[in-house]
């Protein structure tokens, strides 16, 4: 069965520091991959997605993610974190043949000034 693992429940970084959020998936082929962000009291907002092609994808708000087939990973990165990035981040996998998203449990990011 398809699954998504986000190993880090909570991460705290200082403002201006770099960030990497980990995501591993279980799926037999290359699925569609997504990162969403959820701010308090808000719905989920799509940061970026990967379907095929270049394994480094750029998203909104300065985020990027790299797909590594050999590691079944799709880690999210940002070179310099802003206080407004504090939120919960969800990785999701979308196996094309079943047309649904399977979400990880999320990583809550705190940003220290």
């Amino acid at each position: 069965a398809q699954s998504v693992t986000q190993p880090d429940i909570h991460i705290t970084v200082s403002e201006g520091a770099s960030l990497e959020l980990r995501c591993n998936y279980s799926y037999g082929a290359t699925p569609y991959l997504f990162w969403y962000v959820q701010s308090p009291g808000q719905g989920l907002q799509l940061l970026l997605k990967y379907f095929s092609g270049d394994t480094l994808v750029q998203g909104i708000k300065g985020f990027e993610a790299e797909f590594k087939r050999s590691q079944s990973s799709f880690n999210l990165r940002k070179p310099s974190v802003h206080w407004s990035d504090a939120a919960e981040y969800f990785c999701a996998v979308g196996p094309p043949e079943i047309n649904k998203l399977i979400f990880g449990a999320g990583t809550r990011l705190a940003v220290h000034p």
Partner: protein, 115 residues
């Protein structure tokens, strides 16, 4: 462009009571989703509509949950009777198509507390 609207934003009920949530998707979006997000977990799909037909309701607890999308626009999700474990945020999302590559746009959610 208006986003996905949901109401109410918060609801507190006692177990065994019933509750209903409402969702208005983005105009023109044929596909509508209801997700359940339990604290500490990612969203889990409950039901997916294409226009007013059900595409996937495999994870909907049909003994107590029901959903409808009359006229293929607004949707309501009902729980009757509610259990303690139904405490969660219920998210509605919409997209222009059913394929996974169609971006899903999420509403702010309804936070349900069952006492």
């Amino acid at each position: 462009e208006a986003g996905v609207a949901q109401s109410p934003r918060y609801k507190i009920i006692e177990k065994r009571q019933s509750v209903a949530f409402w969702c208005n998707p983005i105009s023109g979006h044929a596909t509508l989703y209801w997700y359940q997000q339990i604290l500490g977990q990612g969203p889990k799909l409950l039901i997916q509509f294409q226009n007013n037909g059900v595409v996937d309701d495999s994870q909907l607890p049909k003994d107590r949950f029901s959903a409808e999308r009359l006229k293929g626009v607004d949707s309501t999700l009902k729980i009757q009777p509610a259990k303690l474990e139904d405490s969660a945020v219920y998210l509605c999302a919409s997209s222009s198509g059913t394929a996974t590559y169609n971006e899903q746009f999420f509403g702010p959610g309804t936070r349900l507390t069952v006492l």
